[in-house]
Structures are given as C-alpha cells and as structure tokens.
Symmetry: C2
C-alpha cells in the first residue's frame, strides 16, 4: 500500500463479519493491531478464546488509539453503537462499517458522530452462518467492497480505506449511497426476502407435510433454505432501513411473477420458453467474472461420493 | 436384489437424466445391457462417442428386447415418444419415466400404450446442466425416487422397479400421482418459477445495469441464477403439465409475500423477525437428513483459496 497504513483497527461487533475481518487482518496485514468489542459478554468471551483480537469490555476503550473503526453490527444498531464508542474516538480516526444498506447508516453515523470522518462501506460477501465461530480469513477474497463516501469526503482518506480492503483480497468500488441501496435491493435484499417467504410458505402447508418438504427438497427448494437461514436481526434491520428500494424491486418482481402466472394459466408455452431461455446467460457471466463456483450444483458434495 | 433383475434397459432421451442413468447402471448393475435413443442426431452421436449405451437410430429398435424402458424426455414429449417406440415394445416390459410431473405423464403414457405395464417414476435429483455430457453416475445417490404406480399395478412389478432404483443408490417412496404433483409443486416447481422470475426482473432494470447485477450477485442473487439456468423446454413442460398445483402454491406464496411487503411498509419489525427466526430450523433438518451439503455456502470454493 502506498497509502498511509492503519496502525490499529477497532472492530465493534464480532459476529461473522467482525470475526472474518479480524482473521483477514491477521492473515494479510500482520503488523496491524486489532482491538475488539461486542455488546454480548458471551461473544466477547468466545472471541477472546479464539484470539480474534485484543478484546475490551467497553466500546470507548476498544476504539481508544485506533485510526480505523469498523462497525460490524446490524444496521439498526449502528447509531447506538456509534454513540457508545464516541467518548474514546480520536478526531483523526476513520469510522466505517459493513452494513448492507448505506443511506440510513450514513445518516445515523453522521448524526451520532458530528465532526468525525465517516466513510461507510459494504463488503458484498457473507455466508448463512452467524457468530464469531462462523468467520474465516478468506471471506472477502475476490468479493466486491462498495465504499459510499459522503460528498465532502477527503479523497486521501477514501483511498486509505480502499487500500485496506484491497489488502484483504477484495475488489473496491465507490458509489453513491442511494444507488448502492437500489443495486443491493435487487442483488441481495429481494433474494433474501423471497427466500424467507417461500421457506415460510412451505412450512405452513396443510396438504404437504414438513417431512415431505425436507425429503424432496433437492428438487430446488433446498437452495432457498440456505439464505433463509441467515441472521434474523440483521435482515429485519436491512428491510426496515432500505424500505423504499426494496418495495420498488418487490413491486417489479410481483408484476413479472403475475405475468408468468397468467402465462401458466393460459397455457402460453411460448412466453414461458422465452423467459426461461434468456435467464441462462446471466449465470454464465457471473461465473465468468469469478462471482460463483463454475461446477454444477455449486460443487455440492452431497451425492455420497 | 431378490426381485427379478432386468436384463436390458432402454433409455429414450439421453440428456442429463438418460446419460446419468446409463452411467449409474454401468457402475452399479454392470450385467445389464443398455440400449439408447434420442430424437436428436447430434445427441445420439455424442452419446455413442461417450459409450453411454448401445445407441440405436430408431426408438422401436432401441426398445426391442428390453424389459425396462425409461423415458427421459421433457414431460410434454412423453406421449409422442411412447407412440414412436410402441412398435418395438414387448408386452411383458415395464415402461417408466423420470418426468417431474406425474398425473399428466401417467395419463399420456396409459393412453399411448394401451395394454402395457406403465409405472411412472420421478427421481428428485438433477443439476442445472443439460445434455449427455452433463450426466454422472452418482446423480441418484441418497436422493429420493418417487414411484407413482397406477391403482391396478402388479406389486411385484413395482417392487422390481423400486429395487432397480435402490441399486443405483436412490431411496424409494411410493405415492399417489396427484399428491406427488402437489409436493413437487412446492419443493421444486415453485422454486424454479421464482428463480426464473427474479433473474428476469434483474435483467430488465433500467436503474441498475446488468454489470452491477453480476458484480454484486454474491449478496444472494447468484443462488437463484443456478436453477434459473435449467433446461427451458423441460421447465416449460413442467409448468404446463402441473398447472393446478403450481397455481395453488403460487397463490399461497403471493399471499405470504404480500404480508411481508405490508410489514416492511408499516415498519413492523416484529413480524419480520418472527418469520426470519422460524425459517432456520428447516435447513437444519434438510442437512440432518443428508439432503444438502452441511458446509457454509454449499461448500462453494470461490473465495480464491
């Protein structure tokens, strides 16, 4: 990094993201000191057992001396977490986060930390697991991290944060927070909402038992259960904090689904075939750009061999 | 197998399913002769190159002497395929299939092959790939194969077919065809319909570019692109042949989605949290029953390590 490196990174929240950041920093930036805090005493204890970071029992203490603070808490908890750490915050530190919606986080952090440098970020990366044990060092490899700096941000500070993420293996893009929220509404938030919905629908049927849903899930349903196993608090906050963009994308999806429903009802095989033919290309592009596993069935190893 | 083994199996259709069946028979039932036919000359030529089976250029010739015939064609092509092979069919042969909907296939085959023994079947197993090169011998390992014998079926013949599927590594269940179609509507057909829809919705946006959808697909969207890359003809036929059950499940899904949409609009975090909390358990059960990969993110190897 030609940019000025960070000497101490404070991680606030030590679940999947905080734990992965701690391990990625240890792997890629071994000279950087990492302090950490989580609101849960159990998570702090586990993080200490895993030697993820120098764990502190007070957020203001965790950020003392840090030149980069990364908030890894649900987006609805950002404001309270920022207020709690502010007594220990240096004026020359950069405050960032990993939240999945950016307009509301930018506003919450700016309001909670007046006079401080806030550069929100979103690494588009994760798994369905939660908690400190779910983290791993390569979570950000070849994934995109989107920075949404405010209009008046110092470009040298933005470059410093970008260099940090690149050092962890990520690709970095800069975006307006409103555009981020629209893009993620379709690439992440709506997929999660739909997955949660269909798993709920399948759980509530009278004519088909839960045992049947499980046994025959390899027909496609099981794919949806993975993202529907994601952290409930995190996702509740995402939908509440990115309401307008999610509702806009949901409206478009519902229109398209209604059109397909009508095609099925009226035996319009041509309309079905036309849609089903055009959706193959996008997967090929995703694989070509290294954003998914090229092997069939995601390379799942569940055929007993 | 204590049941009388089959001496010659004829596979009609040599795509993912026919090719996998040929390879599974070679691996698990090496004494069984396998003949094959596909309506496409290119597929026949490729199947011959791959030595999948003794390839014939006429369906009646392919089934001559066979005591088990398995139709591996799209469900809308079953009747025509059955009529085409019927001149070569022995009266003591069992005719079966691998179609994803069962009421319409049972009717089509019974009508096309009067006086013959028809026992429809559906191995709940597959990948997003198509064609003879996509097949592999372990496709049916630890997957469920559902037999839907007609009410007057000879139980010894049903047992023979069940033993055949078990020899290929599958678990076997017997079910009424109408119930099969309802169960698969929720575990397979609706998931495919939703995946095709959201991939279509994402492709048609003006505010978000196709490049952005691809770059940030790791947020969840990429999961849906896998099943939306499935064979368009096969899936067109599934929706047209299982219309009533698909429309019923789609109606329930839409109601549930509308309820969630309302919860988001009215900031009802409790309703969101409640649903998102209950959907985790079903994935644990699917993994416990060996129907999905237990590793995070399906065990995808795309983090560059």
């Amino acid at each position: 990094m030609s940019e000025r490196a960070f000497a101490q990174v404070a991680l606030i929240g030590l679940g999947l993201m905080g734990s992965s950041l701690a391990q990625a920093i240890a792997a890629h930036l071994p000279g950087v000191q990492v302090t950490g805090y989580d609101a849960s005493p159990e998570v702090r204890a586990r993080a200490a057992e895993l030697s993820l970071a120098d764990i502190r029992h007070d957020p203001a203490d965790a950020v003392a001396g840090a030149d980069l603070i990364i908030l890894c808490v649900p987006v609805g908890a950002m404001a309270a977490a920022a207020r709690a750490l502010s007594p220990g915050l240096s004026l020359d530190a950069i405050v960032s986060d990993v939240g999945s919606s950016k307009q509301s986080v930018a506003e919450a952090l700016a309001e909670a930390l007046p006079g401080h440098t806030v550069i929100p970020a979103h690494p588009v990366s994760g798994t369905e697991r939660s908690g400190p044990d779910a983290g791993f060092a390569s979570l950000f490899h070849n994934r995109w991290c989107i920075l949404t700096p405010p209009a008046n941000a110092d470009s040298a500070e933005v470059d410093r944060l970008a260099a940090f993420w690149r050092a962890l293996g990520a690709n970095v893009e800069t975006m307006d927070p409103a555009h981020h929220d629209l893009v993620l509404a379709i690439t992440s938030h709506l997929p999660h909402l739909i997955a949660y919905t269909i798993v709920g629908t399948a759980s509530d049927l009278e004519q088909v038992t839960r045992g049947e849903v499980i046994k025959y899930s390899a027909g496609g349903f099981r794919d949806f259960t993975r993202i529907a196993a994601s952290d409930p608090v995190m996702w509740r906050d995402v939908f509440l904090s990115n309401k307008d963009a999610v509702l806009e994308m949901l409206q478009r999806f519902t229109e398209d689904l209604t059109a397909l429903q009508r095609a099925i009802r009226w035996d319009d095989g041509e309309a079905l075939f036309e849609l089903f033919s055009k959706t193959r290309a996008i997967r090929r592009s995703i694989i070509a750009e290294g954003q998914d596993d090229a092997r069939p069935d995601f390379g799942r190893a569940d055929h007993g061999d």
